[in-house]
């Protein structure tokens, strides 16, 4: 079944561009994260989907039906706001039942549904409490329960976990993920935290400071095959090395020829490219060793945090970071000469 489709969405606020050229197809029932730095337009995109803003241009469709002009209160979506926006004058139960009351549901049905939802968010017996009596995590759950009360067609969350402390945040991430698996409702979550996005989502939409979508894919796809240098740099850490294509499946980096397993078709010899290699894919061996895909350098810094070891190499002016487990710890110290080995399969060639 077709899910949510965004076609050629643009949103301008007077002269400021908030979102541009967005084309997305979000399949039904998936958990999708909009990920990007602050100011990239991810929240605006969510508000466009919710109907709280009208796009300057473009079309939004849900299950094949155009909803671009439909006002927010007729969309039947559930939304959790960053500030949560719980109604301070209503009790927990009245907050959750708000959408049911608006739809004139009868009292006993409301009460029943409120109990059911409080059970779902693991807060049974809280219906009569006031919002001011709840902790941050509990408010979070009430906001989620309130948004789910009408069984929304789409569940939207705008950085709902940003205000929580680290431990609680990780718990809530897991809980949200499990809730999604149980309910199967198409969910869109906005976040600037890539770890959160990687933990929770089926699909990640990466947005950049140019207010455009850079890549959409599963978390591993995006991690393994970033579409451009922005994505490679934003998702996890990446070694970005500039070079020039010097033949089929070969890139020259400051005099060293590197073999590449997969070369994009558009890259011809002579093209300037950037190679992205994840730190955990790079091996470091002691001493200066010649060989295929080897870069010689000097150890400038060793960060040993117990569970992993990062080695910083200075290879003729550019920095290479390698990460390894304590088991495979290379026998090098700061100041030593060392060689970084970049496996051909781990080198991703980027043209932009």
């Amino acid at each position: 079944m077709a899910g949510l489709a965004l076609e050629d969405i643009h949103k301008h606020f007077s002269s400021v561009v908030a979102v541009q050229n967005v084309n997305l197809d979000i399949p039904h029932g998936r958990f999708v994260c909009f990920l990007g730095p602050s100011g990239c337009g991810k929240t605006t995109l969510l508000r466009l989907i919710a109907g709280l803003e009208r796009p300057t241009r473009g079309r939004i469709a849900l299950e094949g039906k155009d909803i671009t002009e439909q006002p927010a209160h007729q969309r039947n979506f559930g939304m959790v706001f960053q500030s949560l926006a719980l109604f301070p004058h209503l009790s927990v139960g009245d907050n959750i039942a708000y959408s049911l009351r608006v739809r004139k549901a009868d009292k006993s049905a409301c009460r029943h549904r409120v109990e059911e939802l409080l059970e779902l968010v693991r807060m049974p017996g809280y219906a009569a409490r006031h919002i001011s009596q709840l902790s941050g995590g509990q408010r979070q759950r009430v906001a989620i329960a309130r948004a789910l009360a009408i069984e929304p067609r789409l569940f939207l969350l705008d950085e709902p976990l940003a205000a929580l402390d680290a431990k609680l945040r990780e718990d809530m991430q897991l809980e949200l993920r499990m809730l999604h698996q149980r309910l199967g409702v198409t969910t869109v979550l906005v976040t600037h935290d890539q770890r959160e996005a990687m933990t929770m989502s089926d699909l990640i939409v990466v947005m950049g400071a140019d207010n455009q979508v850079h890549q959409m894919g599963t978390p591993l796809e995006i991690y393994r095959n970033p579409a451009d240098t922005f994505v490679a740099d934003f998702i996890g850490t990446s070694n970005l090395v500039k070079g020039t294509c010097s033949g089929s499946r070969q890139v020259t980096v400051s005099g060293n020829a590197l073999k590449i397993e997969a070369m994009p078709e558009s890259v011809k010899p002579g093209t300037e490219v950037t190679i992205s290699v994840r730190p955990e894919d790079i091996f470091v061996v002691p001493g200066t060793q010649k060989g295929e895909n080897n870069l010689q350098g000097k150890v400038t810094f060793v960060r040993d945090v117990g569970s992993s070891i990062e080695i910083y190499l200075d290879c003729n002016g550019f920095q290479i970071i390698s990460q390894s487990t304590p088991k495979d710890r290379p026998a090098v110290r700061q100041g030593d000469a060392a060689t970084a080995v970049l496996p051909p399969s781990a080198c991703v060639v980027l043209t932009s």
């Binding site: 979506f77 706001f81 109604f87 209503l90 009790s91």
Partner: protein, 286 residues
Amino acid sequence: MIEDKPKGLRAHLPFIYPAVMLVVFFVISFGIMVTVSFFHRVPGAFYTPSFDLNNYRNLFTALFGRVLVFSIFIAALCAAVCVAIGFPFTYFITRMRRKAQVVWLVILVSVLSLSTVIIAFAWSLLLSKTAGLSNLFVWLGFMERPVSWSPGFWALLCGMCYIAFPYTVLVLYPPLSRLDPYLPEAAMTLGASPVKTFFSVVVGSMHSAIMATLIVVFAFTLGTYLLPQILGRPQHWTLSVLITDEAIYHSNLPFSAAMAVFFMLVSLGLIAFTMMIGKGRGPKQR
């Protein structure tokens, strides 16, 4: 533990200052009024000190009762009208851009600089038969011939609301500008139409602010003295007019003091009652 109690005059100054002010400007003058209200009036002269309950006994007349009820009624009505108009007005101001908000507030505050006398005569002119608004309506074709709307009950209410309106907005502005703009949006995503959102969320979450504003405007307009004499007929005179009449034209200070004390007690009682009802309903705002 170290004893760190404030010592000396300097440490007590923050408490002494407001206490002195309160005593000088309120307790003493109020005390004089309460004392005088028990004094015995000497007709043709002033009064002699005594403990005379007759001033209070004389309050229980039909005239006093009618005027008291009317004073409270018109002040309450004025408060209700001001809040009913002022609440949405202030809400829309707070949703504007900052610069536009300032312009609106400056216009409102500038109304406060007008003297009550000017406002009263301006309204009596505006509502008059000879040069008033009805002439404009006749010219526009809404009415057949000009009529006189002043003096009268509605003219008085108009004038009182005009004076109280800026205060209404100024009292409502701070809580409304602190209202989380996401609350109405949340209500909309939950399926509430804009009108439903306004009443259930904006009005609902502002419940205590609305109560407070009603009380402020009620207390403020309760003492209206000049407007009833210019915009109202004698049956629209408020208790303040009666008190002034007694004090100045009949030189009966003890009786007018008794009226003033009784009036104040009744209005304080009403305000306390309103606040009690307000507390019972819904969680308090933090």
